[in-house]
């Protein structure tokens, strides 16, 4: 392909915008993942299924109830919190005993994920659902004339909502009493209990926050790609996991930066390599591997002894 065409500044800018919005979704999704991992030291593999259910919840609210988008976002986040809390009660808490290994809850989360996806297939069918076109103005913002940058309202919303969610999560973890308790539980459940912290209720809080983040990611992806179906979690699950590892297990800044890095790398692989679409995942994961060779703890990770 002609190099001068690819070096076109508008094309470069457009790919940055698209990469950022793609990455912002990965970030919001990965935040929920990393939160549970940071606190419980377990990988919740039902997070992607929660996210899928939230996308459907948002879709239902928008289409069947005809409510406006902000309410759908709230409904979707509430649905996510609900599903995640349900998971904690049914799939995680029964397995949590002092000294129990980390494998059992992971397997149980895989089971929960399979059940959630199967139920969605039974309820909604495997057909793809779309948001009504009236939800967002389909005309993109034009920056620099009709031949310039095109930014869709979905992209504006995704990046801004993601930023707000990331900032509030950071504030919540660092500045509030509950957030401090969360960090204490992450450091040591035993010590927290001795200090009089209700560990189970703190874990429940963590699950509901993580679920709400999955909910936000679900409806945001729905807006960005307009493609909602029971298997949609599979596309982000592996990437979310990669983002968490890239950013550093349990790190909030890591999830944010990692998500955006992955989104931009993917987009640039497609945009600048011939036939890049066929190996975008390969390139993304190769880079991930290289970064981890240099920094095994991830971009923002700390040695496991001082994490959280």
């Amino acid at each position: 392909m002609d190099l001068t065409l690819l070096l076109d500044p508008t094309y470069l800018g457009q790919n940055l915008v698209d990469g950022l919005s793609r990455g912002a979704v990965y970030s919001v999704f990965a935040l929920g993942f990393t939160l549970i991992f940071g606190i419980l030291d377990i990988v919740n593999l039902a997070h992607a299924a929660t996210y899928m259910w939230c996308a459907f919840a948002g879709w239902l609210v928008l289409t069947s109830l005809g409510l406006p988008l902000p309410l759908a976002l709230l409904a979707s986040m509430a649905a996510g919190a609900l599903v995640a809390v349900g998971l904690e009660f049914l799939a995680f808490r029964p397995l949590r005993r002092e000294g129990s290994d980390r494998l059992a809850p992971m397997i149980s989360s895989i089971g929960a994920s399979l059940i959630l996806v199967s139920v969605a297939e039974a309820v909604f069918g495997s057909q793809t659902r779309r948001f009504p076109s009236s939800v967002l103005d389909p005309h993109p913002l034009l920056i620099g004339g009709p031949e310039g940058l095109r930014v869709t309202w979905a992209q504006v919303l995704i990046v801004s909502i993601s930023l707000v969610l990331m900032a509030s999560l950071g504030w919540f973890i660092r500045r509030t009493r509950t957030g401090m308790a969360l960090r204490a539980v992450a450091a040591s459940q035993k010590a927290s209990r001795l200090l009089g912290i209700n560990v189970n209720s703190i874990i429940l809080t963590a699950f509901s926050v993580a679920g709400a983040l999955a909910g936000a990611a679900g409806i945001l992806v729905g807006l960005l790609t307009n493609n909602i179906f029971p298997g949609m979690g599979g596309q982000v699950e592996l990437r979310g996991l990669a983002v968490v590892i890239l950013g550093g297990m349990g790190s909030i800044e890591g999830a944010v930066v990692g998500g955006i890095v992955l989104g931009v790398i993917e987009t640039f692989t497609i945009a600048y390599l011939p036939g890049g679409a066929d190996f975008k995942d390969a390139v993304a994961f190769l880079l991930l591997f290289l970064i981890l060779l240099v920094r095994p703890q991830g971009l923002f990770g700390q040695k496991s002894s001082v994490r959280a």
């Binding site: 793809t128 009709p146 945009a271």
Partner: protein, 376 residues
């Protein structure tokens, strides 16, 4: 083992020939049994049920009108469950137990590849009414189909776009993880070459992808005057919508996956102007087609799809062959089918090629006001 099996078959065949049957004035038996193996359960049953409806409707008409004099066709339809093994056993059952004169089906090409050799070996004519894969009729001289293969109708809109918009530079996007889309994209490439249109760039995506902006932006950069999309129905909608979002304002030609009323309905104004090729058009003004749609609506209170139209056509082709052969003999029917040429059908003027593939006009449809319309 295979010797005794086929030996038994010939004994049975000989015995069945010795049984005196009632013969009508035309030399046809009073009842002619025709079999069909179609997918009536499972995911692909939408096609099989349409086909069954088309066959039922046609043979009811044929019997009522007395197209075959006083002899009547008895249709035996058995579910092959979209399964290869099941297809083979149903094929055997139709041939050896039901002793049918000819067979319709199977619904899916994959089942046809497993089951049709059984009929070929037994010398029973088979007509597929929905199988579009390459190589179906290569299985033998008893295998026919009236469903146009991809290569026969997919390229038509390319020529139409060239004539209408003077297209010189085309780009193509297709799903690289789907065999159907891959083979369709090859058909498109060949059609573009044949039409003298430069294919200046090709992009792909994988199953499950939902964000196609980057690929579309990359294609747009080459300033083409035609976008060709080979996708399944699920990805077709976001592809059309995102092409509109990024301001990719060129004519679009879609593959068979985009020939779906649901795609047009959901993609709304992003599908406006989309061109697709098809074997048959439901709102055609041709008399035979209109009469079929009306009769189908009366009998089933629903509108027929392409599969019903092809099955309905197949039934009439079979009846015409039996009439011309003046016989319900399997070989006689095969020979008469092979000779069919210029028959007026729902699909237009119909002939079988030397390779027993269908030859009939295809149509190019363009989306206008949220509906497929015939490209003038």
């Amino acid at each position: 083992m295979s010797f005794t099996k086929s030996g038994l078959f010939w004994v049975l065949l000989g015995a069945s020939l010795l049984v005196p049957s009632l013969v009508s004035s035309q030399g046809l038996p009073a009842e002619i049994k025709i079999g069909a193996l179609e997918t009536l359960t499972g995911d692909s049953s939408v096609y099989g049920l349409s086909i069954k409806n088309g066959l039922d409707l046609a043979f009811d008409e044929i019997n009522a009108k007395g197209l075959l004099g006083s002899s009547k066709v008895k249709l035996v339809v058995i579910d092959e469950k979209a399964d290869k093994q099941e297809g083979i056993s149903v094929m055997n059952k139709l041939i050896n137990d039901e002793k049918v004169s000819a067979i319709f089906g199977p619904t899916l090409s994959s089942v046809a590849f497993a089951a049709d050799p059984v009929a070929q070996k037994a010398g029973v004519p088979v007509m597929g009414t929905s199988t579009t894969a390459v190589g179906i009729t290569d299985m033998g001289d008893y295998i026919f189909r009236d469903s146009l293969p991809q290569s026969a109708f997919v390229p038509a809109p390319i020529l139409a776009a060239k004539a209408k918009f003077g297209v010189k530079r085309a780009v193509l996007i297709f799903e690289s993880t789907n065999e159907y889309a891959k083979s369709e994209s090859e058909v498109f490439k060949a059609a573009l070459r044949a039409a003298g249109i430069d294919l200046v760039a090709t992009e792909s995506y994988s199953h499950g992808d939902t964000d196609f902006r980057t690929q579309l932006n990359k294609l747009k950069l080459r300033k083409p005057d035609l976008l060709v999309i080979s996708a399944l129905a699920g990805e077709a909608v976001p592809l059309l919508q995102q092409a509109q979002e990024i301001g990719f304002a060129v004519p679009i030609v879609g593959g068979n996956g985009l020939n779906s009323p649901n795609v047009v309905k959901v993609a709304a104004d992003a599908a406006e102007g989309l061109m697709v090729g098809a074997a048959w058009f439901r709102d055609s003004t041709a008399a035979a087609s209109k009469a079929f749609v009306a009769a189908y609506k009366t009998k089933y209170s629903s509108v027929p799809d392409q599969f019903a139209a092809q099955a309905y056509t197949g039934a009439y082709l079979m009846a015409t062959a039996i009439k011309n052969a003046r016989s319900a003999d399997r070989k006689a029917i095969r020979d008469a089918l092979a000779k069919l040429s210029g028959i007026e059908t729902v699909l237009g003027s119909f002939s079988f090629s030397e390779k027993r593939d269908p030859v009939h006009p295809s149509v190019t449809l363009v989306v206008k006001g949220g509906q497929y319309t015939l490209l003038p």
